[in-house]
Structure formats: structure tokens, C-alpha cells
């Protein structure tokens, strides 16, 4: 019963956060300077009557809270509205999602495999040259801005060596995604490996490990089952949150590698003042972000039996 009440409270909190974020984005998009109607016309001067007609058509003449209300009620009916060229926002996103999802999952998988491995190796070889070397390597890698790494690796592996496609998605998965995903993953390695190392070091000296050893379990069973499982909580929290961000489309990497993903769509929409697209895509991203935070809780409960009793 307590669990049900807790869940209800959590969901109510999420709904509140959703309303808050969408409202702030709505305000930022439609109340700040930058006129979408003028942007639509480009350099051509528009008749005042045309401007007024367009404003009425897109409800830009209504007060902001009324516009926000109309957006919310559309959302409940599964309608994210249309952009200023009349294309439905849902349709615009539909072709973009597969690219972003493929990129995010590829990068995420690399982060998990490489990051956790580094962390485990560091913990098992604590204090050695291997430990310090891997730490220095991952920290150094995380200090290079992602766009520098993107541009350089694109030139080196794509243009000079010709190992992988330079840009675009014509070669499909995995060829087109390896390079951009690796660049994203390199950035996350330092956090994942550090969290894994820290938790492993702590569990290795825990009482239950000593108990396991005393019972005569081999190192494979002690480390593989008891230590690993109990050490996964911090890294998995980070990884789940990170997936939420990755699915938001990495604007910079999608831009450099010319991947037609959601991040790219969102950034272009911001640049061209396509308000409905910005709000629509942001809404989808916020839902993903909130969903991953629920996932984090679920992972916690799954990995830590103590939380189930609450």
C-alpha cells in the first residue's frame, strides 16, 4: 500500500514537472523576440493584412496562456500541431526518430561495454599502473570538447584513412553510425568507469565478500556474482539518465556527421523560429527524459532488494 501511494506521488510530481518544462519552453519560444511570421516571409516585405491573417491562422494573436492551453488540449488528443509550412510535427519527427534511436543505442552500448570493463579492470588492479593509466586516459578524453573530437575523427577515419563513411546515413547501420557513436561514447567513459570503479572497490571490501570467500567460493563466483551485481547501481543510474540525454539527439554530433536525426530537426527549427516544431520535439524529449527517470527508479528497486521493503 505504501508503495502504491509512493508511486502515485511520484507520477503526480512527474506531471507537474512536465507542465513546468513545457510551459517554460512555450514561453521561451513564443514570448521572446523573434517573429515567426516575418521569418516565414524571408526578405520579402509582407502586407500588414497578410501578417494579421497569418497571426490569426496560427493563433499568435491570442494571449500566451490561451495558446499554451490549446497546445495542451491538442496534446491530449495526440496532436502536436503543424509547423508554419503546414506539415504536421509528428510526421516531421517520424522520419528522424530511427536515426537518433540507432545513434543513441549504438553509443550507449559502447559506453556500457567499454566503460564498465574499464571500471572493473581498474578496481581489480587498484593502485597499479593500469589503474592510473586508464584513469588518466578517460579523464583526458572527457576534456576534449565533443565537437573537436567529432571533426578530427571524421577527418582522420573518414577522409584520410577512408575506413568509415564521412557523413550521412546512406551506408546504413552500423557503418554510418560507428564513428559518431564512438565520439559520443568516449565522452561518457570517464563517468561510467569512475562510478563502476568506486562501487567495485567499496564492495570488494564488504562483509558479504569476506563471507563468500570464507565459505570457499572461488574468485569467479565472488567477483562475478556478488561484487558485480552490487556495484552496478551507481553506474546504471548514470547510464539510464545518459540514455535519456542521448535520445534527445546530440545536436552537435548529428550536425557534424550530417545525420538527419531529431537533434538536427530541433536545432534547425530553433534557428528558423519554427515554434510549433520546437515545442513539439521538446515535448517528446521531455517525455523520454521523464520516462528514463522512472526507469532509473525501477533499476534501483531491481538491483537493491532493500528498497523493495519500503
Amino acid at each position: 500500500m505504501r508503495l502504491a501511494a509512493k508511486t502515485a506521488q511520484r507520477l503526480a510530481g512527474l506531471a507537474l514537472v512536465f507542465l513546468g518544462v513545457t510551459f517554460v519552453i512555450y514561453l521561451a519560444v513564443f514570448a521572446l523576440p523573434g517573429d515567426p511570421v516575418r521569418a516565414l516571409a524571408g526578405d520579402k516585405p509582407l502586407e500588414e493584412s497578410t501578417v494579421a491573417a497569418l497571426r490569426v491562422k496560427y493563433n499568435l494573436d491570442l494571449p500566451i496562456w490561451q495558446q499554451y492551453w490549446m497546445y495542451l488540449s491538442g496534446l491530449v488528443h495526440g496532436d502536436l500541431g503543424s509547423d508554419f509550412k503546414g506539415r504536421p510535427v509528428l510526421g516531421l519527427m517520424a522520419t528522424r526518430w530511427p536515426v537518433t534511436i540507432a545513434l543513441a543505442l549504438t553509443a550507449w552500448a559502447m559506453e556500457i561495454v567499454v566503460g564498465l570493463t574499464i571500471g572493473v579492470v581498474q578496481a581489480l588492479r587498484r593502485g597499479t599502473v593500469i589503474d592510473h593509466g586508464l584513469l588518466a586516459l578517460t579523464v583526458l578524453a572527457s576534456c576534449v570538447p565533443v565537437f573537436v573530437l567529432g571533426v578530427v575523427s571524421q577527418q582522420v577515419f573518414g577522409v584520410t584513412l577512408g575506413w568509415l563513411p564521412v557523413a550521412g546515413v546512406r551506408d546504413g547501420w552500423p557503418a554510418s553510425y560507428i564513428l559518431p557513436a564512438a565520439v559520443i561514447a568516449v565522452f561518457g567513459l570517464s563517468a561510467v568507469s569512475r562510478l563502476m570503479r568506486g562501487a567495485m572497490v567499496e564492495s570488494l571490501s564488504a562483509d558479504y565478500v569476506r563471507a563468500g570467500r570464507a565459505k570457499g567460493f572461488g574468485p569467479g563466483r565472488v567477483v562475478g556474482i556478488h561484487v558485480l551485481r552490487n556495484s552496478l547501481i551507481p553506474a546504471s543510474t548514470y547510464l539510464a539518465t545518459d540514455l535519456g540525454y542521448l535520445l534527445g539527439g546530440t545536436v552537435i554530433i548529428e550536425g557534424i556527421f550530417n545525420l538527419p536525426g531529431v537533434g538536427n530537426l530541433l536545432f534547425e527549427a530553433i534557428r528558423t523560429h519554427e515554434g510549433p516544431t520546437v515545442v513539439g520535439v521538446s515535448t517528446a524529449l521531455i517525455v523520454i527524459f521523464l520516462a528514463t527517470s522512472v526507469l532509473v527508479d525501477a533499476i534501483h528497486v531491481g538491483l537493491d532488494p532493500r528498497l523493495r521493503r519500503a
Partner: protein, 295 residues
């Protein structure tokens, strides 16, 4: 990426002896020296820019566009034929200013809101916690991009304000939990019993003992802000020419990497070293302030 998970709120005052020991260690001295040099760059750019003969970042000669190292110009020239070293030195100022100003703004907001939530609890806590979640809910830099795209004049100050306003939530959470852990301690209860004003209790007894983890996070976040600024600038929504900044130089250099890699490499190296120094400094502080390390 900030990893707040490694920071636990510690209810202990800054221990001076530990600090003194830490500042003598190379893990503190090396990054502090690097950052000191960068701050010197940003205060007296013309002195350092002239080290190799040409100190004027705007003295450009299109004839030497994208040329490599030459006598008096060991770092080569950019596409406009300007000295790369002079530009990198002058670019330090924007990065340092944005990093410091945005962090100060973010930490100030975080301390006020986090203390409100942590000390008073109840409704204040609910409101602040929800507000924090709302600001954490923005996808990477989205809020900053949307706002900056609408702001016509994008100076270091306006970029700092925007980054600060979107950058406080993690710190606020830390302040909140840190203040909460101090609030119930004996000396705070004693101060309350003595009838001290709430303001005095907070400023004299709670905050000095709650802020050491915040200091570490603030240090690390300077690096995050500097990277965020250069990312925004690279995307075209941060600082604008004719401002001189590493982000602008990297953006320009990335278009000519094939033929003239040095234009991209030098500002990138400076940016990476700055971030590395800030992270190392944060680590050194963490090691010094962590009571687990008290010997």
C-alpha cells in the same frame, strides 16, 4: 559531464590543516599554476600575445592565410591571416569570464534556493524541489539555445547569464541535502535555543559548515560551463565575431582541418587543458575536504 553522484554532502567545516597539506601536493599545484597562467592571459593578453613578436590578434595579412609556423609566428596563421597564438591568448578571456560569471550566478541561485529548501523544508522544499526538477528536465543545452537564439546581442555577459540561469539545479540539490544534514546538528540546535535570529544561524552556523561539497562542484562546473560556451559558440548561438573566443576559432578551424589542422588544434588544446586543470583542481579539493581522508 558533471558527476554529482561522487559528491556526498559532508557536514564538516573546511579543515584548514588538510587544506594546507593539499595545496602543497602536485595534484593541486599543477592545475592551479595552469589556471593562474590562463587568468594572467585573460587579464594582460597583450603582454603574453607579444611573446613571439606579434601581439596583435587583429593584425592580419590575407597573404599568409592558413600558413603554418613562420619566424615570429610559431603557431602559424588562421584563415584570415591572423596570428594563431595572439588569438588563442586573447580568446582565454571570454572563456574564463564566461566560466567564472556563469558559475557565480548559478551557485548564487543554488545557495539561495537550496538553503530555503533545506533549512525550512515543508512548502518551500516542495516548491524548490519541483522547480529544480523542471530545470533539470531540459534536454542538453536546449533552454540555452532557445533563449540565446532570440537574444540579438550575445556578449560574454548575456551568454554567462543564460548559462547560469540554466545551470543551477544540480548545485541546488547538493546545497539542499548538505544544509539538511547540518540543520539537525547540536550546534545549530544550540544556536536556535540561544535565540539567535534565523538569518544569523544560517549565515554563521549552517552555511559555513554546509558549503564544502558545493565548493568542489562549483570548481568542476567552471569547466563544464567553458565547454558549454564553446559548444554554443560552435553551433552559432554563442559569442559572435568580432569577439575573440576559442569556440569561434574552433568553429572556423574545423572547416579547414584538412588543409590547415593547426588552426583547429591550438585553441582545442588550450580548451582541453583548461577543462583538465579545472577538473584536477576539483579533485584535489575533494581529496582535501573529504573527512574519510583525514589522517
Amino acid at each position: 559531464m558533471l558527476d554529482i553522484t561522487a559528491l556526498e554532502p559532508v557536514a564538516a567545516p573546511v579543515r584548514r590543516s588538510a587544506l594546507r597539506r593539499a595545496v602543497r601536493h602536485w595534484t593541486f599545484i599543477a592545475p592551479a599554476a595552469a589556471l593562474g597562467l590562463l587568468v594572467a592571459f585573460s587579464i594582460f593578453p597583450s603582454y603574453f600575445a607579444g611573446l613571439f613578436g606579434n601581439g596583435d590578434p587583429r593584425a592580419c595579412d590575407l597573404g599568409s592565410s592558413a600558413d603554418g609556423a613562420a619566424p615570429g609566428h610559431p603557431f602559424g596563421f588562421d584563415v584570415q591571416g591572423c596570428d594563431v597564438w595572439a588569438n588563442v591568448v586573447f580568446g582565454a578571456r571570454s572563456s574564463i569570464v564566461v566560466g567564472l560569471v556563469a558559475t557565480v550566478i548559478g551557485v548564487a541561485i543554488a545557495i539561495v534556493l537550496g538553503t530555503l529548501a533545506g533549512y525550512f523544508g515543508g512548502v518551500a522544499d516542495q516548491v524548490v524541489s519541483r522547480l529544480t526538477e523542471v530545470f533539470l528536465g531540459f534536454p542538453f543545452l536546449l533552454g540555452a539555445i532557445v533563449v540565446l537564439n532570440s537574444v540579438g546581442d550575445r556578449s560574454p555577459l548575456s551568454v554567462s547569464v543564460v548559462l547560469g540561469v540554466f545551470g543551477w539545479p544540480l548545485t541546488a540539490r547538493l546545497v539542499r541535502s548538505s544544509v539538511r544534514s547540518v540543520r539537525g546538528l547540536d550546534y545549530v540546535v544550540a544556536a536556535t535555543t540561544m535565540g539567535l535570529t534565523t538569518r544569523r544561524i544560517i549565515t554563521r552556523h549552517v552555511l559555513p559548515n554546509a558549503l564544502s561539497p558545493v565548493l568542489i562542484l562549483a570548481t568542476i562546473s567552471i569547466g563544464a560551463v567553458i565547454v558549454a560556451e564553446s559548444s554554443l559558440t560552435y553551433l552559432g548561438v554563442g559569442l559572435q565575431a568580432p569577439a575573440i573566443s576559442w569556440g569561434l576559432q574552433i568553429a572556423a578551424g574545423s572547416r579547414h582541418f584538412q588543409t590547415a589542422p593547426h588552426i583547429l588544434i591550438w585553441p582545442s588544446v588550450f580548451l582541453a587543458v583548461t577543462v583538465l586543470a579545472v577538473i584536477m583542481l576539483g579533485e584535489a579539493l575533494r581529496a582535501a575536504l573529504d573527512p574519510k581522508n583525514a589522517a
